[in-house]
Amino acid sequence: MFSKRVVVLCGLILMVAIGVGCGNKEGASVPAGPLWKPSGNEGNITGVIAFSGSAPAPGKIEMGDDPACQKLGDATLDDVIVHDGKLQNVFIFVKSGLPKAVFPAPATESVLDQKGCKYVPRVLGIQTGQPLKVVNSDATDHNIHPVPKENNEWNQSQMSGQGPIIRKFTKEEVMVPVKCNKHPWMLAWVGVLSHPFYAVSGADGSFTIKGLPPGEYELEAWHEKYGSQTLKVTVKEKADAKADFTFDGATTSVYFFPEKGAQGK
């Protein structure tokens, strides 16, 4: 009977349509292993990021047409912040050496603010599954647009006066650039890890990573302009291990995003 055929055909088309629509590109990255339990004999890694050579003169961002941006002051480009030969905003994290365990994502959010038409902080870390809270503190609209390689890309406008956007990353990725489509100069970098052992160097170049079980680790330090460096560190029981990095201002880098592949997928 033709009507049965028609029904089956329509059902097939419908299923294809639903499949396309509900296709979920999110793959969960589920690390294997038992739940992480600190045993009380953990040590720390501390260090200082030094900068050798002369820091480039910071340029002034052209904040263009938006009066809300122009009024709010500091338009200094802060991709390279050097105080007294120390480099700020370096992202340091444990690259390998961790025991096989699952580190539960904290419930507290990692906060990314939009203030003075800049992302604050410029570099931050977050765990997979931990909520990222994006806040708009400006009197203008923003359009938050992370451009990840592994995680799902999203793109959402946030009007002045609207509450925070809460999103999560599901896959490890170092680093995810976060742009603003409304104010193209805005940039933040989010390091997504499956564990909490990361830090961002402060104004004095120092950083601390706490709570590491004793062992040999590979540490990586990343700066958006000067690239990555690695260091092997041995952490002893209840002791502070020292890990210092030096970035050379003479290394020139041409800045561009990694290509993701066909048609943005």
Partner: protein, 573 residues
Amino acid sequence: MTAPPGFIRKYIFSLDHKVIGVQYFFLALAAALIGMLMSLLIRLRLAWPQKRWPWLELIFPQGFRDGLMQPEFYLAMVTMHGTLMIFMVLTVAPQSAFGNYFLPIQLGTREMAFPVINLSSFWMTFLSLGVLIAALFVEGGAPIGGWTFYPPLSAVPSAGPGQGPGADLWLVSIGIFCFASFLGSINMIVTTLRRRTKGMSLLRMPLTCWGWFTTAMIALLSFPILFAAALMLLADRHLGTSFFNPGGLSFSGRPIAGDGGSPLLWQHLFWFFGHPEVYLAILPGMGVVSHILANFARKPVFGYRAMVLAMLAIGVFGFLIWGHHMFISGMNPRIAIAFSMLTLVIGVPSAIKTFNWLGTLWGASLHLTTPMLFAIGFISLFISGGLTGLVLGQTALDMVFHDTYFVTGHFHLIMGVAAVFGIFAATYYWFPKMFARMMNEQLGKLHFWLTFIGVYTIFVPFHVLGIAGHPRRYADTLKYEYLRSLDSLHVLITIAAFVTVAAQLIFLINFFRSLFADQRAADNPWDGTTLEWFTATPPVRDNFSGKMPVVYREPYEYSVPGAARDFLMQTEP
């Protein structure tokens, strides 16, 4: 004798062109209601862009965070409103609904040429509507590129919210719709050419049949182009092709692979379909208006042959002027001149039709029933909307008004109102034949007045906005000093829109109450001359109870001198 059909075969999967016509009608009605609600959401943001709507946030939590309407939600509404109205209302109601119901009857035949294809067409259209609505509910929501869906915005899923799965569903929906409409048009053309009853020559067909026939020819030749374009865009999105991708694209610093295509190719393909599409939307209405005018003026249509030629001319010329949507697209400016000249030429057959409608009314004996009011309203609105086309058709002026509210005002007057008045006129006129009841005249007249005044109040100010340089598809104008003085006009338009949409409740109440009224309508309540008034009310399954009519007369023999009554049916020798 075969067993009578069960409920499913009689009302759901029926091969009866009349049932299918009614099914299309209710599909268009549902789509129109959803589309109208979307237009109210659009108007809300334009009048009060910074107002919070907590109760709307309950219904659309992603679209209204903290009660503020997100711009991506606004654009999703703009896109879906346009798509629903143009495809699911203006292509379906005049052609698929009334055409399917009345073409065979007016031609004096018992059924469409291909009833099985007819059934499939309807259910494919139904599926298409379902897939389209589904776009609202997937991740990212409905697409935001406008019903015109230009790439690269629509070709790169990461180009914006809604441009992911929502855009895919839109393309699948449109593809199914194109296929369904294409099949439907074959049905209408073959039925018109091969199934007319004895004596029904082509030049004795009512103008409604000419409207449906010309529209079907347009659909036959234009929908396949859109289908191909939709397939190409889906391929660009998922199969790595670059039909529309010129290479070197970079979104927020991330390069997109692809090379060798052109965004203009989509525009050419889309508008090659899209311009004939708008004539598709209006031609059945023109046929219906001519038909109704003659009936209630008690006069033949002035210049029947000229009306037929004008319709055919509009159908043919409609395929030659798509470039007027692309004057400043990057297309060769010399070609723009050619398109502009041809565009202004197509104003001539439209003007002829207007003169002939006025000529039909001249010296008439006008009975201003509700269908007649809507038909006359159509003429007024067609004059208003059509004339502004003369501004937009000129290349240099289009440079100023392209993508402003001047364009939005123009096409809303013609499509959003005149064509819709054609649908209303047809509904009020044929309701008695379709549902064997009369609609309430008082409510009908009230509906007419509120709508007629309302739509002028909404859309004439659009032209003021356009002249002031107000771009279209803007979620708000708060960033622009030169548009600040227009805020109060937006509020006026929004209030008028709410009142006009509320007035449509009168139509709905009238429609559904009348469906269940006690008193049955007569077979020929309007004293019409054409074959639909010769059948039973509602018509039986084969339309004429086995006695096929023989046609002796032209279709609009009203007030013939020397006749006993003021009308002579086509079946009278």
